[in-house]
Amino acid sequence: MWPCAFEGDIPSENDNALIKRYIYASPMIPILLKRTVHGVIVLWIVATFTFLLLRLAPGGPFDSERKLPPEVLANLEAKYHLDEPVLQQYARYLGGLARGDFGPSYKYLDRNVAEIISETLPTSALLGGLALMFTILTAFPIGLLAAYYRGSLIDRWCLFVATLGISLPNFILGALLIWLVALELGWLQAGRWDDWRSVILPTVTLGAAPAAYLSALVRSTLIETLGEDFVRTARAKGLRESVVVVKHALAHSLIPTLTVMGPLAAALLTGSFVVEYVFAIPGMGRFFITAVTDRDYPLIMGVTLVYTAILVGANFIVDVLYGYVDPRIRAH
């Protein structure tokens, strides 16, 4: 996928040499290194922010309906080092993080936070990955179709569906799908997470709003690109229409679409705990919600940090992909 800045020409020998000079003269490594350091700093800021916030929050993890005797409370606090000065607790927590230790869970006494996360993360990752696939596989064809037949009935229908999709909260869509497809029609299952029949509805629920958003974006960038000179040139050269649209126009529209992949990953993450709740999927998001109700602070912090790390990672991948889609970016 070469840049289309060459007026739609297939890159000649000379152009290729030029591009190679661009790439090799300024390798990606320093940029990637910088991004990694940046990511670590973001994680540290989030860890500090969350730590402070949860220390300031009113009500403790051991406030229950039945008041604990002071001796028991003191013992619990000593066990979890809550009786130490805040700075010491903070240092202890960061030190633990560096060793991959997220601390104990206040609620689940038989497992620590790292164990809970490693048990539930694969489920959430599978759901998120499937939803991302669904998003991409539906958004690009729909956006392309709508842009190509701009102003037609197809276009207006696509836009209409996209607007509905963006405005439909995923908990409502989830409930609607469960009611219609699982309860009334009995085609698929809900409330389980074991075979393909139970996976489809959560995937669609999680992916719908991102797909709607992305397809609208693909459409608008493609419409812009299809009006460019190099597309006209490509057509004038007598290239097949499919080559013009996919190789010239679509490839050129990938950059604006890539820029939203970061926010998209964020939407899938936060969407996942709603969807996991609605469909009773044993993923990380569901544990996050129960941790919030239980005020299980170490678990809240652990999941928050894992979410942040995933986001930082997603943005990192997007940055690398930029370089592949548009080699000019590697030069800067």
Partner: protein, 277 residues
């Protein structure tokens, strides 16, 4: 406005109408609701819609229409309140960053970038732990999540406006900095701010109803101000198999309201000719 196609104008007018209706219904809830907000009829549990109860009754025999109307008041308070808080904080912040420029700008916008990169819902949940799960705490938490949007827009607009010839001539004529900011730059950035304002209302409503649905939103089941649509939907969700009407009406209310605000935002963006960056 006059250059708009009739179809675009129709969208603008119809979405503005729906939005106004929801706002009016919500804030007039105590006067127009057919039943009292706490009233329950023990013999009329989970009744389907009828002439006495247009939306039926819920699991405690409460009139669903009354609850949905009061829910509109909660949603509108959350949406409008959040947007206002975020508008004030974000715009002032963005104006300062854009107008000061240099290192100030760099530092201030770094803070915004970090906030902006994190998922709204995550920060929102963490902040609501701090501020408490009542409507005031939620408003504050949502405002603190949403302000970054305004900060970005305001700063970008100031940077652009600073380069405009009329601002330069105002400076050349000896206007003070605050006068330039208030008289010349501020009026020029109002259009994109209005569009951002319109879009931030539905996302606040969405965030609040989602959290209430999953049980970590407003935790005040007998509030006289009303119960969140998200909580109503949650109540209905549990009885969905046999009594779909209990979830259908609150869910429809959420959907229609968010859709109307989003459509209004799109229509305003076209009408005011605001380019998205």
């Amino acid at each position: 406005m006059s250059k708009l196609a009739p179809a675009a104008n129709a969208w603008l007018v119809s979405s503005a109408c729906i939005v106004s209706i929801v706002i009016v219904l919500g804030f007039l809830a105590p006067w127009i609701a057919p039943y009292s907000v706490g009233g329950l009829e023990a013999k009329r549990l989970l009744e389907p819609p009828s002439s006495a109860h247009w939306m039926g009754t819920d699991g405690l025999g409460r009139d669903l229409l009354t609850r949905v109307l009061y829910g509109a008041r909660v949603s509108m308070t959350v949406g409008l309140g959040t947007a206002l808080i975020a508008l004030v904080i974000g715009t002032i912040y963005g104006l300062i960053a854009g107008f000061k420029g240099g290192n100030w700008d760099h530092f201030l916008m770094r803070v915004v970038d970090i906030f902006y990169g994190l998922p709204d819902m995550l920060i929102f949940i963490l902040l609501s732990l701090l501020f408490g799960r009542n409507i005031g705490g939620l408003l504050l938490a949502l405002g603190l999540v949403t302000w970054v949007r305004f900060a970005r827009i305001a700063r970008g607009q100031v940077l652009q406006a600073k380069e405009l010839p009329f601002v330069e001539s105002a400076a050349a004529l000896g206007s003070s900095r605050s006068r330039i900011l208030l008289r010349h730059i501020l009026p020029n950035i109002i259009a994109p701010i209005i569009v951002t304002l319109t879009f931030s209302i539905p996302s606040a409503i969405l965030a609040e109803s989602t959290l209430s649905f999953i049980g970590i939103g407003i935790n005040d089941p007998y509030s006289a101000w009303g119960t969140s649509w998200g909580t109503l939907a949650q109540d209905g969700y549990r009885a969905m198999r046999s009594y779909p009407h209990v979830i259908a009406f609150p869910a429809a209310a959420i959907f229609v309201t968010i859709l109307a605000f989003n459509t209004l935002g799109n229509a305003l963006r076209d009408a005011l000719d605001v380019k998205e960056k």
